[in-house]
Symmetry: C2
């Protein structure tokens, strides 16, 4: 499958690697390819320079954001929440009818500790993006965990934990669930329509607290029932 | 131990039963004892009339809210979030130095579905209550699960799931953790100071979505790490 990933931070890179590893045709998109490749310092999130990662992943296409969206039969939003609407907007014409897996979180990085969200409670980033690109078929997924688990659930407790998702389009959710199963996810929890993003994004507050207590992001919640 | 419970809905009743069952001296407080005992209809939340529950629990004291707070060496807030500050305020003089286990959630019942919170993200009910009663030693706990599990974690999956708590007073949290262990809780997750209430209350949005998907409240999250 042709997979277009928007965003070149840890989430974008990890998902690119995970999909490529399963035999998919992956392109990863950035605002400015030359600038990204020329950067020699870690980025604002502490990720190593992209060019270094690129050396280990020569078969993954590195393209502009709209090119990644054009490439993808499915598109993944792996940008920072505050940048997501602009990033997806740069290739909006490629999103009509396309499944968009939205891994973003509306973290307000200016808020310090404890972190807060720039949209919450009565609205969500997932809903805003679905509203901004009404012909895209958004599925909110992956925003509830550290990147390393997204395509490798077996890396923790043999994969015995839960991945929630939500979205308005049942066929899109079914297709995403099938992809998740191909990565080893066994407990996929459908939380309903895209307003479930309020719950999945609010969970980030708990996740960040958990990370503070565990001193690692290598954990996930299992819905025991 | 003398336990004072404020609130006579499902949470208050279940906790009263659970503590009494462990040999504690329990009083449960309401705004108006006569009115509560005289009520013949289910309450707004669908709980059966209190008088019916009372018949099965003759040794639990039924008193006013301030009397319950005076009674308690520890106090439990089991009121609806919107009513919590007024309820605790009615006996504020009994809260100085007292551990208050706060099980409340700031549910905005006027918001319909999906439900929302009347305080969220950058503030929380837990923080507001701690600020309103600065000499009380609040521990946020139990608000993340259905009442039936609060003092009976073994009722689900042999108790193999997690209970988070937070608060500013470490000694209070240690004492609460000891109480929780007496009920069979094994995975007690300390999320730090009372600002952790933002995370624990926001989780309610996810919990409610989960209840919608599972069609039961008999589930809980386990932090797998």
């Amino acid at each position: 499958m042709k997979v277009g990933i928007v965003g070149t931070g840890t989430v974008g890179r990890t998902l690119a690697h995970g999909f490529f590893d399963k035999g998919h045709d992956v392109a990863i998109g950035t605002r400015d390819v030359d600038a990204l490749m020329a950067r020699a310092e870690p980025d604002a999130m502490g990720d190593p320079p992209f060019a270094q990662w690129r050396l280990e992943h020569p078969s993954i296409g590195v393209v502009t954001q709209p090119e990644a969206m054009r490439h993808g039969e499915i598109v993944i939003n792996a940008t920072a929440g505050a940048a997501s609407e602009a990033a997806l907007g740069s290739g909006a014409e490629h999103l009509a009818g396309t499944i968009v897996l939205d891994a973003s979180n509306p973290i307000d990085h200016a808020s310090g500790w404890p972190p807060s969200l720039f949209v919450a409670n009565t609205d969500s980033l997932g809903e805003r993006l679905q509203a901004a690109f009404p012909e895209a078929r958004f599925v909110k997924v992956w925003n509830t965990m550290t990147a390393a688990l997204m395509t490798d659930p077996g890396g923790l407790a043999g994969g015995d934990h839960t991945i929630p998702l939500c979205g308005n389009d049942q066929a899109a959710k079914d297709e995403v669930a099938e992809l998740l199963r191909s990565f080893g996810w066994r407990d996929i929890l459908d939380l309903g329509d895209i307003t479930g993003s309020r719950a999945m994004e609010a969970y980030l507050l708990l996740w960040l607290r958990g990370m503070g207590s565990f001193e690692t992001g290598m954990f996930n919640t299992k819905f025991v029932r």
